[in-house]
Subunit: 466 residues, 2 copies
């Protein structure tokens, strides 16, 4: 695909489509939209527009499509795989001002929102209703970004990911056409599932400008435990048994010893430095949760856990989960002068210990700084590595390790990305993971976006994105 | 689309692709594949083939595509909207012999199956593992048919529908190309969601020849209650409060008084003839479930229920759910000389009482025989009507009522089909329900099946199916 750079003429035309203060070509604005939270190279857009309505987005896309100008959607820039970096420049549509909660239909368990709504803000607003929107990527992600990346997090093992919570979308297609998709009914078997086709497509098939979200009842009670294991195998086996027993934990997070040591230091926790499982249950009565915890303890002890610390109070649990959610930034802070890369793979349950073994072996053999954080209930592992900025030898090693880990995950029947999306960093694994079905994805891309203007340079390996 | 009838030459070529006893043009065989369990008009295929492998299906499709011969997949013929009726004749692919459970990976919560596996048989086979495949349409449906229709049922409110339990598919595309889609990882954010695009596409985009299913832990305990209400509003309000309280029932089935009376007669039950809610909870301990039931009782009493009968034993609960699942056939048996039609709509929670009011009003005003059975937790209502065979005046009335009910469901923000699929009967509501997104579905159809050979005459209104 060949794209055009913005000319004075383009800029004038685009400026006329929005209020003056919602169009910018200022250096600092362009810089702020040149990278997400990943360590992928910066790439600046040529202009940033803050749209406020579907009609504005439609006008901009119609123009961009006619003039072959790249369009990349932007939520809060919290993604971890370069997903919204405008690698082909062009226009970034920043949705941070299109952030109204349009309607909460409490008794339908639904909310209509604009794409710029931050999910924590939605949940804050929902508090008094006893309902919430469960996907929890951690950072202050926007609903639009979460839909684009099919975001998930620590609670996905119980509640599912973003794709399980979207009933309707309004999307603007590459041509500028505004399309409404889906139904307010919580269940439908009518026609092809266009909703799921758009979710996780990283803004390459259409731009979401409104969503009807499914909400669920906020659990009144929780219980949590911290469990220490002598090795990852025993922890992995416990994860399986807890799931098989139908205990339905709301979180099953497994951290490597090096991550535990860091959390201890940062948050003044006194966790044993060993593979550590955080278990959380959500439910309606404390009695029910105490029973679940008892059964989980029985399982973990049978698998030889070193310590099972149940009955965390809300404060202690919040402290641990805050430390868990903050680990990414903690790692960055603890390695000044380093660039930090978080890779994300997922494998079938049984292959989880094997994957962890590969990771540990690679990290040790290449003497790199590496932390493993896992949504173990989903077989989803993040390897977070830190390498000296500008040290090409260090980064060559890291690249080799990451490549070995991702390739190993694929060999084990897994996926190159469990939740961060393909973005830039996982493009070259697409052929290995998807085989001939990648061509069907490519055909879909060509059908939805024949000029390839929507977030070009993402998802597809070079030469395949239209 | 213009299709060719089978010539002697076609028949010889197709016969050579499978063993002799797996190809038939026998009258009784064609008759058996001329209708499903709906009351849509019969339409016979010209030949039936029982494939055994992806390669056979591929060869047949390649040939059919080159010679413009319609191909319709067939599971057990238990669908309710004419979904597998070969309205354009051609070939029916009957998957009943391609029914092996290929592998159960217990510790991955996964099973690989061929499309002809009946879901109850899979669950029987899984019993000793403590796992099961939750979607439960009731009839002896095959996995292939369930995937084609995104089947669901009484437990969907808790467990979700078929689309939530498919990780990988092998599909044969119209050209004969065999494509593998998806991953064995329970979680992925890699690429476009082709899995969900195929699920619910009713065999119009590709033919599924293998699936990797996600399994879940079989709940060791259950509790159930029967609740009688003075009116549907009180029942609907209770459904909402039970969901909001996070009680997570595994079934929330609401039956109209006329359906209750029939169940009483048929199964010697002594239920009050009034709007009746069946509640079921699944869980790990009896204590937990007793608590949930207590809270449900509190809610239903606050909404003015007439009777709350908790603590059903397994035998009684099985008897009630058997009667519930068998209602369709019971209605047919109780109206000899009648044709029975089951329509299926779903609306947002809050619109459920309004929809029921419309249904009652229409049934009474037109003096037709009608029963309402609802998966109330999902806002999904089936209106089952019986009309004299060949009585065109009776059926004109019925068609009018059905049309009013479906149109009302759409006006209330709902869908023309919650779980039966579009098939034949809901095609003419597609434009009203989907607006301009129907054109995107049509484009997808043209891309996946340019010659329109896959299950022609379904989903799309006349003139739009390619």
């Amino acid at each position: 695909m060949k794209f055009n750079s913005l000319t004075e003429g383009h800029i004038k035309a685009l400026q006329s489509m929005v209020d003056a203060d919602r169009f910018s070509t200022g250096e600092s604005v362009l810089d702020l939209h040149a990278r997400d939270q990943s360590s992928h190279p910066r790439s600046r857009p040529e202009a940033v527009i803050w749209p406020l309505s579907a009609a504005e987005v439609s006008n901009i896309l119609k123009y961009a499509n006619a003039h072959r100008i790249p369009i990349t959607g932007w939520g809060s820039g919290s993604s971890l795989e370069g997903n919204p970096i405008p690698v082909k420049n062009g226009i970034v549509l920043d949705f941070s001002q299109m952030n109204r909660i349009l309607e909460i239909r409490e008794e339908d368990f639904q909310a209509d929102v604009e794409p710029g709504v931050v999910y924590q803000d939605l949940n804050e607003k929902l508090k008094h209703t006893g309902l919430f929107f469960p996907p929890d990527p951690g950072a202050r992600a926007t609903i639009g970004g979460m839909i684009a990346n099919n975001a998930s997090g620590t609670r996905t093992v119980y509640y599912g990911s973003t794709k399980d919570y979207v009933l309707r979308l309004t999307a603007v297609m590459a041509s500028g056409e505004i399309v409404k998709i889906g139904t307010r009914s919580s269940k439908t078997s009518s026609g092809y599932d266009l909703i799921h086709l758009l979710i996780g497509s990283e803004g390459t098939l259409g731009i979401v400008v409104q969503a009807t979200l499914r909400l669920t009842g906020l659990p009144p009670e929780f219980s949590a435990a911290v469990v220490t294991f002598p090795n990852v195998e025993a922890a992995g086996r416990s994860v399986f048994e807890i799931k098989r027993a139908g205990l339905n934990p709301a979180a099953l997070e497994l951290l490597g010893p090096e991550a535990v040591a860091l959390m201890n230091r940062e948050e003044n926790l006194d966790l044993s430095v060993s593979p550590t499982l955080f278990i959380e249950f959500h439910g309606i009565t404390t009695g029910q949760l105490a029973e679940a915890l008892e059964m989980a303890e029985e399982i973990c002890r049978a698998q030889g856990c070193l310590e099972f610390r149940p009955g965390l109070g809300r404060a202690e649990r919040d402290r641990i989960f805050k430390a868990r959610h903050g680990l990414g930034e903690t790692i960055i802070r603890n390695h000044p002068g380093c660039r930090v890369l978080s890779t994300d793979v997922a494998v079938p349950n049984t292959q989880y210990p094997e994957l962890i073994k590969t990771i540990h072996h690679e990290v040790e053999a290449h003497k790199i700084i590496g932390y493993t954080l896992s949504h173990a209930g989903d077989g989803n592992v993040h390897l977070v590595v830190a390498g000296k900025k500008g040290d090409s030898k260090d980064w060559e090693k890291i690249d080799r390790v990451v490549n070995t880990v991702v390739t190993r995950a694929l060999d084990l029947g897994g996926t190159a990305t469990g939740e961060h999306g393909v973005g830039i960093g996982k493009r070259h694994y697409m052929a290995a993971e998807h085989g001939s079905s990648l061509q069907w994805m490519q055909r879909l891309k060509s059908m939805f976006d024949p000029n390839g203007i929507l977030n070009p340079g993402k998802i597809f390996p070079d030469g395949l994105d239209g």
